[in-house]
């Protein structure tokens, strides 16, 4: 099920066939007669969007805290904000990269001590210098920890991150010069009395930092960097295929995370006037820090603040009960998990309240867009035979219109320059003694269309992987034009213009269709307007405009395949490599796809290399055909010649061809 707030957050209003709000005067009057009706009218009039409810609550809570809370709860609030910053710092690696670092407490502690060591000398200069030193050191160590994610992932990364935590905790914290020794170091704090006292001032400062951090993380999530990191974390091969430097994105995520943890460390020292003891930065605390974003549901940033606040303030508020810290932590986690799991119910109630007495508006339409279980294929195929969607279902929201945008693509997309041909020479790939591809040579020049067929296990996809840099070559070379790109990594080949799709689409499920396409455009080429224009045109051209805001996870397989194909085209390729592009598509869909594909290829002039079992498709799309058997090239030539060869017809095409 798609979350309604996610729908709003990802901008799904665009392209949705939405009815304008219709106000029924009588209904509105009736609604206003009750308090909830009045509230709903206010919410509607203020155009409050559901997705803003939680952030608004968090900000309102923070503001009210500032004015109303007594000193010790203000201190608790400051601590909650610092814990929230760490929660946000962990949000990106966990939510985007799907890596769970268990070293946040150690890093935060190190930041706290380093900051205190420098800032304790007093003066604004030393405070700033202390902050810089702490953030630089913590960021550096976070990146060092992140290096492990380049080699290992998942649970192995968890253990690798444990190494850093233990190293900091057991070794670095043993050095009196780091921790300030037994006495610690005093850092400057405001000294104020009256209503605006020290704790209130500290809360204000920490809240300022928290706001900045929230904005930074919010912006990062919505930036191309954020999309890239999601893609890298969820489908690394897909990221490489569109030219993303996986290693760089990973390290950047850990760097950003480190900066934020460094800020939190400094703030720990600031709010306490000195860094807390090392027992505040042990492994179990790291585990609890990781629990903050996870328990918040990993969907929005506001929940992180709420869970962090619960973790830090509830034990303080309930202190007179003398509850076991384990019990408190366990109960808070449990409640967070339950509430997080039922969060959409709360959002739904707000949405309903907001819409009481009013008929459908765009938000309502979007909500329904996710709610009704109508097969997607029916929606996107204009009523063609429904296909059972593998993921969540969505309702009819619009019909594909493949007629739009034809001219726009031709007009906006520059025709491919140069005469770069992709050429694989004597490509040989071994897998542990098994030769998957054996000395196969292949060449696709601009404007050419080459098909590859062969039985399962013939080595077609492995050949693709070898050409695109996803598997190492045992022997042979790969050239793009004059350049030998054999040693290039996959993302560099993608950037050079070799774009591909996979048998099973490698898309970032958390991102919308449009976001996936923007990611596919890659780094640094063209300005933002141009990128969006290209994406928009392609969406129109392939009839996917209505789905631009829909998360890819909600799409059926066939549509995902098309989205991936479009993603490969977001930057005009030199060679487009499609691995079974019409598998899972209905005949009508395949024909439309073929029509658009050939039209684009003809206008833009790139080379096309297609693996496909659908002979009707391959005969329509390819000019030349390669047939592979057991990793070797059996025959290659103009498609009609190849198809006429008796051996090919008998062995590989068999009855299918005969039947035709």
């Amino acid at each position: 099920m798609i979350r309604t707030d996610d729908a709003a957050a990802t901008g799904r209003t665009e392209g949705v066939a939405a009815s304008p709000p219709v106000t029924d005067g009588a209904a509105t009057a009736a609604a206003l007669a009750s308090p909830t009706g009045a509230l709903s009218a206010v919410l509607r009039r203020m155009r409050v969007q559901t997705r803003l409810v939680l952030p608004a609550l968090v900000i309102a809570g923070g503001t009210l805290s500032f004015f109303l809370l007594p000193g010790h709860l203000l201190y608790a609030g400051s601590t909650a904000l610092v814990a929230g910053i760490i929660g946000l710092a962990l949000f990106l690696p966990i939510a985007a990269l799907r890596e769970m670092p268990l070293n946040a407490a150690g890093l935060a502690g190190l930041g706290a001590y380093l900051y205190a060591n420098v800032a304790s000398s007093g003066g604004v200069g030393n405070v700033l210098l202390g902050g810089l030193v702490a953030m630089a050191a913590v960021t550096g160590l976070s990146v060092v920890g992140g290096l492990a994610s380049l080699v290992v992932t998942g649970l192995y990364f968890v253990v690798a991150s444990l190494v850093l935590q233990i190293g900091i905790e057991k070794v670095i914290f043993s050095i009196p010069g780091v921790t300030g020794g037994a006495a610690g170091e005093a850092v400057p704090q405001p000294v104020l009395s009256g209503w605006f006292d020290t704790q209130r001032a500290i809360f204000l400062v920490v809240a300022g930092f928290a706001l900045v951090v929230a904005v930074v993380v919010w912006a990062a999530r919505r930036s191309r960097f954020g999309y890239h990191s999601v893609l890298v974390g969820h489908v690394p091969e897909g990221a490489s295929a569109v030219g993303v430097r996986n290693w760089l994105v990973k390290l950047m995520v850990f760097a950003l995370s480190g900066v934020l943890i460094g800020v939190a460390g400094c703030l720990f020292s600031f709010i306490n006037g000195t860094p807390p003891g090392t027992q505040s930065f042990i492994l179990i605390i790291s585990v609890l820090y990781v629990a903050i974003p996870i328990a918040s549901g990993l969907r929005d940033l506001s929940s992180v603040w709420i869970v962090a606040a619960a973790f830090t303030t509830i034990p303080i508020v309930l202190e007179p009960l003398r509850l076991s810290p384990s019990f408190l932590a366990g109960m808070i986690l449990l409640v967070a998990l339950i509430v997080g799991d039922r969060r959409e119910w709360v959002v739904e109630q707000v949405r309903r309240l907001r819409n009481r007495g009013a008929s459908d508006d765009p938000i309502e339409v979007i909500a329904e867009f996710h709610a009704a279980p109508v097969p997607v294929a029916a929606a996107v195929n204009g009523g063609a035979t429904p296909t059972v969607a593998s993921g969540p279902s969505i309702e009819v929201v619009g019909r594909r219109d493949t007629s739009a945008g034809t001219v726009a693509v031709a007009a906006s997309a520059p025709a491919i320059a140069g005469t770069s041909a992709l050429e694989g020479r004597e490509i040989t790939v071994d897998f542990g003694g098994v030769r998957a591809v054996d000395a196969v040579s292949v060449r696709v020049a601009p404007g050419q269309r080459l098909g590859i067929v062969g039985a399962n296990g013939a080595g077609k996809t492995t050949l693709f992987n070898a050409l695109t840099g996803f598997v190492p070559l045992h022997h042979g070379r790969v050239h793009l034009g004059d350049r030998d790109i054999s040693g290039w990594s996959s993302f560099l080949r993608a950037r050079a213009g070799i774009r591909r799709t996979f048998q099973i689409p490698r898309l970032a499920d958390m991102l919308s269709v449009e976001q996936n396409l923007l990611v596919g455009h890659g780094h640094g080429h063209g300005d933002a307007v141009e990128r969006r224009e290209r994406v928009s045109t392609l969406l129109d051209r392939f009839g996917l405009s209505a789905l631009r805001g829909v998360p890819v996870a909600a799409l059926p397989f066939g549509v995902r395949r098309e989205v991936e194909l479009v993603r490969a085209l977001t930057r005009t390729p030199k060679v487009l490599m499609l691995d079974e592009p019409v598998s899972g598509l209905e005949d009508e869909e395949a024909e439309k796809l073929l029509e658009v594909l050939l039209d684009l290829q003809g206008k833009e002039g790139w080379g096309l290399l297609v693996i496909e079992h659908d002979l009707r498709f391959i005969t329509q799309v390819a000019e030349r055909l390669m047939v592979m058997e057991d990793g070797r090239l059996l025959v290659e030539g103009p498609i009609n010649d190849v198809m006429r060869q008796e051996q090919v017809r008998r062995v590989y095409l068999g009855e299918l061809v005969t039947a035709q």
Binding site: P70, G71, H72, L73, L74, Y75, A76, T79, K170, S174, P176, T179, G181, A182, A183, G184, A186, V187, Q189, V191, S193, G194, T198, Q199, N272, G273, T274, P275, P276, G277, T278, Q279, S280, T312, P315, I316, E319, P320, L321, R322, L323, S324, P325, S326, F327, L328, M331, L334, I338
Partner: protein, 513 residues
Amino acid sequence: MWSRYARFSVLTAGFALAVAACGGGSASLSSTGTSGGGYGSSGGSALAPQAPSSQQNPGSSVSGGSQSQSAPAANNAAPAPAAPGNAAPNGAKPAAGLPVPPPGTVPAPPLPGQPHPAPPASGANFASDVGVTANSITFGAINLASATRSLGPVVSEPTQKITEAALTYINNRGGINGRKLQLLTCDDGGDVTRARACYEKLKTQVFAFLPAETFLTDVIHPALAQDHVPFMSWGWFQSEYTDPYMFPCHANGIREASALAKWVAENKHPKTVGIMYLNVSEDIAAKDTATKTLSQYGIKVVQNISMEWDSPDESQHVLSMRVANPDAIFTFTWAAPLAKFFRDAGGQNWSPPLGYWSNHVTTDPGFGPVWGDYIRDHDAGITSFLIPEPWQEPVSPGNLLWEQVTKQYSGYDVAGLHFKYAMGHHISQAAFVCAIALPQMIGPLGANVTRTAFMQQLEAHQYDTGMGVVLKWPHGDHGQYPYSFNKEYIYQWITSPDGGWEEKHLYPDPLYQ
């Protein structure tokens, strides 16, 4: 459906736990005063203990008329413990010679900008400062009562209970100049962040803090300097001694290490030693201090073992020590890993020829079964206060009072442990001696009880605990030589006549120099 039921069950269980924990713990605000009767009203009985002796500053007197008659300060004739071959504790002489700091050199009044209320012309009690009313003085204690089994219930609960018992004892004797004493406690669960919140909560409600176990005492110094709050502390951290607002009631581990190393070097004459220490800054510093002291005697440290409080096993360290084969082993570590080490070494039937010499962690009467059989005849520990050992030598008056107050107001059993003589351990002794001495510390201030005057009083006088220690916090440096715990005590674990655990006082008492 089931999941709803499960959640309900969990929440119900949680509520039950909460209620149980609430009932099991004490309320935050402990009203320790009684309106009469109780122990105070029977103060003249034969069971009445001797109050700790007070080395009062000449000229200072307990005002409040009849109230002072029942205050412990009035019973100042009790002798200091007289150990065989040892004179009265250092500093047991009157403090008349101690200079009173000139005005202005002591901390400023609390809550800057808010002048103290002027005393009434009648001289009657009034709300003279934070936490003080005409009828009461409220103290605070931050502890880790809800921390895990090895910290909270066993360590903090006895300390809190004996503090409450001491205040009740005082209240039942009329309080201090007619003001009853109250205790506000706050549980930090062992978390410094929660402890700081406790401090922020209590600082505007309490007059001063009394000793209790909390890791806050190492990191609260800047706040104390801002808020000008007097803080009597448990002495775990060295930094407590350098904070002008903090008045430690227990020896610091680093000085313990120095005194113990010197004592062993001079009395046991090992040629080689091993040192086991906890991997925290205080105990690393203790190890370094002991090493330095031992080197002055030409004693070689042949093995250093860094222990972790969360180690599952210590067998490898036993092996390491066995191979190094030192004459004696010093331990400046935490109870859990040390208990494991003892158990494993006992299993191997190995010990250094001159035994183990430990910091105060091992020297708590009543904890013998926790350590196991091996500790007997193998380990001796240094501690701040004399402990009751009626079979061996006369019980010191402070310990007598400790035991009597325990018996009267609390009982020996806490957290499933039966304390042999009185309720608790070395930190509970520290809390007790500083709480029971409050009438001497505050009484002389009369009606105008202020934090500043209180701190001036503490710095200008010294207080005999009756447990072999005379508390003093010289102005400018509360750890100034010779400080309160210049002399400490060493006890050897032995088998008691009934086959249980007992401790034997070793002489001469070590001196820190």
